[in-house]
């Protein structure tokens, strides 16, 4: 699939934003006094900015963005519609928490709102993943690794930014130890995901696509058109396959070893100096985000659509 930058930016940034908001909401639910006024507002604000930036980027992908409001209507069947509804709904607890932090509120209210925010953040990311996992025509997305992948990547991104914000504001933050655990889990999951998509035997072949397999081996000799069309442009993206291995290693390196080393360094040099940990947090947030961009680019670029079977007879797993 063609990796559209607007969609990659949307899924990475809204993932980081909701990861951040989830962790902040959870922290509030457990300990309403966890964060001071300004520190809390910065966490919320950065989360909201990421989410809004992601949503705005996603509208760049649309042919008729002025009608985007219509996308809230079909939540009964469409994951994309559900995603829109959930992400707008998540602004309600965000605004309420901001108000409570600003004016002061009792612990129970903050706890409840924190839990609500965490729930909406998680639901939104689940809906984002649902957009992809529901597409049977793209086996690399229609499998059990994709949902945990989206959740874990959102948490890792959110935790890295939460750590950075905490270092700079002195407020609540994701601890480096959590980041180490998330980084390891992400790499393990990605490893198994890639192994799965490389090895899975495709249910569809050019023979089932044409129904001509009963006569022998089918080969395309002439495509319907000499130039590209929408399908070959959108779904016949080839570029990534060449550098796939290297890019996978880059993603793993950024999300795994680099992040783990930075977190461990920060743990080692915590007291009495403050700046080494702050620098590590800064580097980790940047590297994790970069790693997520590479990972997401591959998620699109390496996913093959079954319609390409009609063209050129490429088997789903001829890389």
């Amino acid at each position: 699939m063609r990796p559209a930058f607007s969609v990659i930016f949307f899924t990475v940034m809204s993932g980081c934003g909701y990861g951040l908001l989830f962790l902040f909401g959870l922290a509030l639910a457990f300990n309403p006094a966890v964060s001071g006024r300004i520190e809390g507002l910065v966490q919320l604000g950065v989360g909201a900015i990421f989410v809004v930036a992601g949503l705005l980027a996603s509208t760049l992908h649309l042919g008729q963005p002025q009608r985007a409001w219509r996308a809230f209507s079909q939540w009964r069947s469409s994951w994309l519609s559900r995603e829109g509804v959930a992400s707008v709904a998540s602004f309600m607890p965000m605004v309420l928490i901001a108000g409570c932090l600003w004016r002061g509120a009792d612990a129970t209210t903050l706890r409840a709102l924190g839990a609500l925010l965490a729930a909406f953040a998680a639901i939104t990311v689940i809906c984002t993943a649902g957009i992809y996992t529901s597409l049977k025509a793209i086996p690399a997305w229609h499998n059990r690794f994709v949902l945990p992948g989206y959740l874990l990547m959102a948490l890792l991104g959110g935790a890295a930014w939460s750590w950075l914000i905490g270092e700079w504001t002195g407020g609540a933050r994701a601890q480096p130890a959590l980041i180490v655990a998330l980084a390891i889990a992400s790499c393990v999951l990605k490893h198994f995901y890639w192994r799965h998509i490389d090895a899975a035997t495709p249910a569809s072949t050019i023979e089932t696509a044409t129904g001509l397999g009963r006569f022998g081996r089918v080969r395309s000799v002439e495509a319907p058109h000499t130039e590209e069309n929408y399908l070959t442009h959108e779904m016949g993206f080839q570029l990534a396959r060449k550098h796939g291995k290297r890019l996978r290693n880059i993603a793993l390196l950024l999300l795994g070893p680099c992040t783990i080393v930075l977190a461990l360094l920060a743990i080692t040099f915590q007291a009495p100096l403050h700046w080494p940990a702050a620098c590590c947090a800064f580097a980790a947030a940047i590297l994790v985000t970069a790693g997520l961009f590479v990972e997401r680019w591959l998620f699109f670029a390496q996913a093959k659509h079954v319609v390409m079977l009609y063209y050129g007879g490429a088997r789903m797993h001829d890389a």
């Binding site: 042919g63 008729q64 469409s78 049977k136 696509a209 002439e222 319907p224 659509h305 079954v306 009609y310």
Partner: protein
């Protein structure tokens, strides 16, 4: 609404005979021509007279070669028109966030409402058959309408109330009718010729059916038979024996 309607009793669709399609692309051209001016048009092209024209077609004709299972048998060429199959349970409808993509309860035709579509392209990702093409010029998704603006058009003679592709086909490889009615001509044709579904494993239950090529006189598309050498007795005539020897060299 992008929830699927309850199973429709009327299932309008096409039956495509791969045995006689000659790959002339007349159906594809007739489709483009009709729909460019029809109710769902236009179908604008980018760079139409340039080096790399790009535009929406609802119907595309592929050509495949089949290497027979049997060694040494001649290869078979099959021309293969591909368009929307108006599936019974298609995800292209349910994934749509706006309600623009829908399946009609009255006859099962799958359509895009041009005025609601936001051009998110998700439905084209959900279609395994490549039946939906996005128009960069219009900013919306376009697809085969089964010529809904012809088949119910009362200003046409009865005989012309058929999809443009069916009318255009010079070999009559395309048939239009109600596949939900077991007594219709198309249903009978499917039963008689073993019409089949494309990619049944997707679970979309296509309405359109394809008729497989018939066995050929040259033996391709037939069950493999062991090749036999002709045995002739030349022992009676020295002349024939000599000719056989020369020719066998």
């Amino acid at each position: 609404m992008t929830m699927l309607p309850p199973p429709t009793s009327k299932k309008l669709g096409l039956v495509i005979d791969l045995d006689i399609c000659v790959g002339c692309h007349a159906c594809a051209v007739a489709c483009k021509e009709w729909n460019d001016g029809g109710q769902f048009g236009p179908l604008p092209d980018a760079n139409p007279y340039g080096a790399e024209p790009l535009g929406v077609w609802f119907n595309r004709v592929h050509t495949y070669e089949i290497e027979p299972k049997e060694k040494g048998a001649p290869a078979m060429t099959v021309h293969f028109p591909r368009s929307c199959l108006h599936c019974e349970t298609p995800d292209c409808v349910t994934v749509c966030p706006t309600g623009a993509s829908y399946k009609r309860a009255e006859d099962g035709i799958v359509l895009v409402d041009e005025d609601k579509c936001i051009g998110c392209k998700l439905c084209s990702w959900a279609c395994p058959y490549g039946a939906r093409e996005y128009s960069e010029q219009r900013g919306t998704m376009q697809k085969c309408t089964l010529c809904v603006d012809r088949i119910y058009n009362e200003s046409f003679e009865e005989i012309d109330r058929q999809p443009a592709c069916v009318m255009a086909c010079p070999t009559r490889a395309r048939h239009f009718g109600d596949l939900g009615d077991a007594d219709s001509a198309v249903s009978k044709l499917v039963a008689e010729r073993g019409g089949y579904d494309l990619m049944p494993e997707m679970g979309y239950k296509p309405v359109n059916k394809y008729l497989p090529p018939r066995p050929r006189r040259d033996g391709c598309a037939a069950e493999p038979t062991p090749a036999q050498e002709e045995k002739v007795d030349f022992s009676t005539s020295p002349l024939l024996r000599w000719i056989d020897k020369v020719l066998s060299r």
